[in-house]
Amino acid sequence: MIEFRPSGLTEDEEKLRTEVREFVAEEFPSGTYLPELGINAAADPEFSRRLAARGWVGMVVPEEYGGPGRSATERFLVVEELLAAGAPVGAHWVADRQTAPVILSFGSERLKREFLPRIVAGDAFFCLGMSEPDSGSDLASVRTRATRTEGGWLLNGRKVWTSGAQYCHYAMTLCRTSPQEGRKHVGLSQLIVDLTSDGLTVSPIRLLNGQHHFNEVVFTDVFVPDHMVLGEIGSGWHQVTSELAYERSGPDRFLTTFPVLRYFLDFREVSGPEAELRLGALAARYWVLRNMSLSIARSLDQGEVPAVEATLVKDLGTSFEHDVLDLVRDLTGGEQEPDGDLFGRLLAEATVTAPTFTLRGGTNEVLRTVAAKHLLREKRRAL
């Protein structure tokens, strides 16, 4: 039986949180800015560097690679404060969340020395080259391929939904490095691709409201030197699947719409029995989800890999983010005004971008099947 343990904080962790909270309060006083919404957050490289200067980017990178060597829990505490405030975390998001950990886990010494200090300094921003036009949640079916050439690889193919490719420096790119024969999970590798490479084009895929988060990235004989291969050639699938615990379990899975709720309470009159009932139930779920998510971070620090737990939290969290919106929308009443005050604009943006909340890290439908299979297997094992 899956079970989460509540986790308190150490004094040092509390101290860190206080620092972050003070920093955030100073940078983002309520009502003075339009909050960003979680994983859709805009990029603000200057802000990312200010964060980095405080040691809050690439936090898990150990001191020998220029980082502060802090825990997943400590990173959690920083990230949740930023997301709750709607900070513009877009620039360093992927580097901090995924790239630094996987380079640490799988990268060569050279890659570590080359990239980790720059990530920690807020100097190297990454995007993910995973999805392709025909792959979707079925990552193993990627067709982008790298073929051997002198001193490296020639990359050809097309990636879509790469967030932030327009301002990032590198793309961690999943591709096929040996022809598919039989099992499609075999023969995949991850390459670090310099986005300024010859033969590489980035073009926007605009969101329905015209916003530019996503891109199409096309590789035409892009040269990637050997040392930019992450880990062993052919181990891409293993790397990608072991990333998923990071990707699924974080506070970004339930906090995306928190700023909307905050501004709603700050800038609208809210009262009455129905508001009490619904806000109360919402508060209970935030409380439980946050503590489950924190508990996963703590487990990671203890060397556990709570993959199924992370999956379930993701599933719960992303549905919950929609519930928050529905509630705010109901209680606000009247017509939404995308040209209205800050709260009105925020709610409008949240409403039209809500369908994106469930897109990353695999659709919920696929995740549920994975989780169900695990539960059934555990059950059979227990018999």
Partner: protein
Amino acid sequence: MSDELQLLDGTLRAIFAKHFDRDTRAATGREFPRDLWTVLDKAGLTALGDVESGAGLAELVVLARAVGRAAAPVPLVETAGLAAWLVTGAGLDLPPGITTCAAAHPDDDLTLARSGDGWTATGVLHRVPWGRDSDQVAAVATGEGTAFAVVLPIPDDVRRGTNLGEEPRDTVRFDGVALAADAVAPTTVDHDALRERGAVLRAASMGGAMESALELSLAYAGEREQFGQPISSFQAVQHHLVAIAEETMCTGMAVQLAVSATAEQAAFAVAAAKNTAGRAARIVTKRAHQVHGAIGVTDEHALPWFTTRLWAWQDEFGTTRDWAARLGRGVLADGGAGLWPRLSASVGGGDAG
């Protein structure tokens, strides 16, 4: 769970498995399972909440969860978790026999009046768990403007009632019952405090019942075939299973948070636990029945032991909505600036150290 709690859990599991298995349950029918109670009593479990014993809320949550997991029709939570705590906390002794506890029903009204050296008690307690089967009932009474813990013998003429899980919930009246001075003591536990504790323990039992509903659903889905394949291979069934697991997890976490909460957080954490359990109960009962189909609604199947209790318990010690409203009043009072600090407040203990 710590090793001590694991041990307690193991003891409880073993007792229920051995002394209240399927056959015993069937043989007992709707009679009170007195043999089971005797075993629990001899093991010292019925007095677990005695404040002298060192057992705290963490232990009683383990006990309540085990009761829910076994759907055991005995007032163990009431005796060990509520009565023992209320009575010994006020410096009284827990009497022998079965001592159930008033259920903090909103219409309860019990007053004490001085009478010679002792007291007389008058009033009514509603929906007292296993009132008919218990020897006495512990309750909070009001006398001379103060809250007192009292233990009252249960009269013969209780008005019988049940909850949806067919557990006795009897209304008990007292009309000037004489009480010795040493059966009454001032207490810091008021009606609300009793209700809060009851809510956490019911939520724990609900979590236990959900675990069993999940186990049954997984087992059934894995073995039942339709259209030539196990129904667990259907995505719709998989989603039911996942939702049941998620809500069971949420309930477990919410209850553990109530155990770990600091004094300042307790009111919030308790309300969140009972609200979470209630919300989860609706989802788990619907989906577990949907997985089981017709077999699950028969009196020969174990599923209804759990689902009928989940239907009942979500309303006991405050409904899901009662607790939501209480949380909501806090949210509105805190306002936007207070919400995040409230939601992210650290609980005590856990793995931090």
